[in-house]
């Protein structure tokens, strides 16, 4: 699928951001001593699958360098593998009982994490007792890789949502980005109509037939497509109905415009056809490909739903976590993750300026690197802002059937936009998801 390309863009664009801040903080975060560390071998070779040379592949290679400072005998072999291929390989290897061919560490999309562990628990190592301090990560990001109370993943890529806006276009309407901070979707609609009327440009664009926007809105109120009993919660999901109502209004008023492909979506803001975008923070990589718009962008938090319990201005989209194969060198792999992605501010200080890889690990967010003003974003310290947002993102239940549910809701929204009643479309979605879960 085309989502993966986002990260290529992200990394390339952010590399220019700051070059001076490499390795200023050397604290290792490993002072309490490894609990499961006694049995960790001091030599060996770890294989890793992840997909973006300028982003997660780069981050893993940097992590390997840091780990090798204390364990010089350990080699790390990173194989660039697109996510679609990782998913296909995991499924095929599991199905043909060749799990030993998995790499020691693999990066898994947060949306697919639970599905894979629930279906193939024999492949994934339980990291609960590995010594990784999971409480140092945001609850919502750990939730993606937590199954039955056990932790199977170390969160890596931050999917915290941001509302990025074009300050120059807003100025024409007499608005500022602060007018969009801590607002509701009602406020957003009102201002959006104003922007549309005076500049002719929508505030927002999205890819048609995709559920990303709907899911972000839903998660912002802490709601999910599945209930506590893990049954599909779609037809009677009052929050979802509110979400769809707002989405319909956004479309009808022209504040939101739908485009048919990912490239068109990117093009809509790169070519100044829309005045803003709401997405996971990784979208900023694509935003920054428009060099002529430097200094004209700012970010803030997302609007919240009205009339819904637990509504917040924070949500997330996407992201990924490191999983450890149960069939490989589990102890060594877990130790590497613990001492780097879950224990080295040095790592995050290195990879942020070069690849834009934002930490989910909270101690890293306090580093000076994150507070640096970003010229592209009108000298806002966007990274520390995003880290601040990240801590407030409500959790979202994914489970094994998350993709079915997302697809069904996306299809329902398409039908609603074409005139079907929300209740009717959601009843059909509920039926399809229940059918898939049977």
């Amino acid at each position: 699928m085309f989502e993966l390309n986002r990260r290529h863009l992200l990394a390339g664009a952010l590399s220019a951001a700051a070059v001076t801040m490499v390795g200023c903080s050397g604290s290792d975060g490993d002072s309490e001593g490894p609990k499961a560390g006694d049995k960790v071998p001091t030599s060996g070779e770890l294989s890793v699958w992840c997909w973006d040379p300028a982003f997660n592949v780069y981050a893993m290679k940097e992590a390997a360098k840091i780990y090798q400072k204390t364990s010089p005998e350990v080699k790390v072999d990173v194989k660039e593998t697109p996510w679609d291929d990782i998913q296909t390989k995991v499924t095929t290897l599991a199905q043909s009982k060749k799990g030993d061919q998995l790499p020691d560490i693999l990066l898994v999309q947060n949306n697919a994490f639970q599905k894979n562990v629930i279906n193939y628990p024999e492949l994934f190592a339980d990291l609960s007792d590995s010594g990784v301090a999971f409480d140092e990560f945001g609850e919502s990001v750990v939730g993606y890789s937590k199954i039955d109370g056990k932790n199977y993943g170390v969160p890596f890529d931050n999917g915290t949502a941001i509302n990025a806006l074009r300050t120059d276009l807003l100025e024409k309407v007499g608005l500022k980005v602060s007018d969009f901070t801590d607002i509701t979707w009602d406020d957003y609609l009102t201002m959006g109509k104003d922007v549309k009327a005076k500049t002719g440009k929508p505030l927002l664009s999205a890819q048609s037939g995709q559920s990303d926007m709907l899911m972000m809105m839903l998660q912002s109120a802490g709601a999910s497509l599945f209930g506590d009993d893990e049954k599909a919660n779609i037809a009677n999901n009052e929050t979802l109905k509110v979400v769809m109502k707002y989405y319909g209004e956004l479309m009808k008023s022209g504040v939101l415009v739908e485009l048919n492909s990912w490239d068109q979506y990117i093009g809509s803001f790169v070519n100044s056809n829309v005045a803003g975008t709401i997405n996971g923070v990784w979208i900023l990589g694509s935003v920054q490909t428009a060099k002529d718009q430097a200094g004209k962008w700012e970010i803030t938090n997302v609007p919240k739903l009205v009339g819904v319990d637990g509504a917040t201005n924070y949500t997330a989209n996407g992201g990924s976590s490191w999983a450890v194969s149960a069939k490989g060198d589990t102890a060594l792999a877990a130790d590497l993750l613990k001492k780097t992605f879950a224990g080295s501010t040095e790592l995050y200080d290195t990879i942020l300026p070069k690849s834009g890889a934002l930490a989910n690990w909270s101690p890293a967010g306090k580093s000076e690197v994150y507070k640096k003003p970003q010229p592209f974003f009108n000298n806002q310290p966007i990274y520390s802002k995003v880290v601040e947002f990240a801590g407030k993102v409500p959790s979202n239940k994914t489970g094994a059937y998350y993709y079915e549910a997302r697809d069904a809701v996306a299809a329902a929204m398409v039908k609603v936009l074409k005139g079907t009643k929300i209740d009717e479309a959601l009843a059909e979605a509920q039926k399809n998801v229940e059918f898939a879960m049977k």
Binding site: A94, N260, Y401, V414, E428, K431
Partner: protein, 312 residues
């Protein structure tokens, strides 16, 4: 592989018979040895997985924990209750029924035109029409997606020619999206079938065409009553191949429309892939779906063979 010499040889005539039988055997053996590598490979790579898939289609369960379905044919009956499968079935047959006849008709027409020995630059035309086949399915799908974007080439042209006032959301509406896929298929495959027809036309005795002309038949009657009947085996071949190909259609649905809007352009094979790799993996059900496709292809091919055989 040779048999050990036997002492049981008694009568010379019997021995002679035996020797002859042996040489025949040897010839048979040689034949089998030549066949063996291909036969083993096809059994291993094709028939063995097919049998495994059949067995898997009778099983159910999460991940790798399979058990026999209860009843055994549960996955197959499940197909009948699956709304998304029904949609994909409809879509696939829409492509089949609309696209294949148009394509074969066009291919036949083009082949006849390009078979005219007096036509100039024949080789050039033929190559140009065949060329789309050399393009990868994925790249042409992506090009079509760009062309039919709301701000793409097609809309710009339509607006430029004042044929349309506002851009048409080709890929965002059910029927226009289906039409774009049909157009894509036509572009990609017409030339391919045309080459088969051209080859078939070479085998038609020019004397039969001359005889028809002498008898006073016009071009259309000559084409319809002389050329087409003699091309019948080729038409049949192309029809079966296209049917088979269309029922297994994947790339266009996957790359051009991503199955949307709301699954309304998704093909059966696309759904099969989704069931296995995108969604919660359900290989038992996906195998049942693949067998359903196999049965449909077989039945359609059988019908076409029956219909095609009538004249012979």
């Amino acid at each position: 592989m040779t048999a050990p010499p036997t002492s049981e040889v008694e009568a010379p005539d019997r021995a002679q018979g035996k020797v002859r039988f042996r040489s025949e055997q040897r010839r048979n053996l040689t034949g089998w040895v030549f066949l063996l590598p291909a036969a083993i490979l096809i059994c291993l790579m094709n028939f063995y997985p097919m049998v495994q898939a059949l067995i898997m289609s009778l099983k159910t369960g999460r991940g790798t924990r399979f058990r026999w379905a209860d009843p055994l044919w549960e996955n197959y009956t499940r197909l009948f209750d699956d709304d998304i499968f029904r949609t994909t079935l409809f879509n696939t047959f829409f492509y089949l029924i609309v696209q294949v006849p148009i394509m074969l008709g066009l291919a036949l027409l083009l082949a006849t035109l390009l078979n005219n020995p007096n036509l100039r630059f024949r080789g050039l035309w033929r190559t140009m029409i065949f060329l789309p086949c050399a393009v990868s399915l994925v790249s042409y799908s992506l090009v079509f997606r760009t062309m039919f974007a709301t701000d793409g080439l097609v809309n710009d042209t339509l607006i430029g020619l004042h044929l349309s006032n506002a851009p048409i959301d080709w890929l965002g509406n059910t029927w226009t999206a289906r039409i774009v896929i049909v157009l894509g298929l036509l572009w990609r495959w017409t030339g391919y079938n045309m080459v088969f027809f051209l080859a078939g036309l070479q085998n038609i005795e020019s004397s039969t065409l001359e005889a028809a002309r002498v008898d006073g038949a016009n071009a259309w009657r000559t084409f319809w009553h002389v050329t087409v009947p003699q091309l019948k085996p080729m038409i049949l071949l192309c029809a079966i191949m296209s049917t088979n190909g269309t029922l297994q259609l994947f790339d266009e649905s996957w790359n051009l429309t991503q199955g949307g809007p709301a699954n309304s352009t998704m093909t059966m094979s696309h759904y099969l892939y989704q069931l296995s790799f995108n969604r919660n993996p359900n290989f038992g059900y996906a195998s049942a779906l693949s067998y359903a496709i196999l049965i449909m292809v077989a039945v359609l091919a059988f019908i076409q063979l029956k219909v095609g055989d009538k004249r012979d």
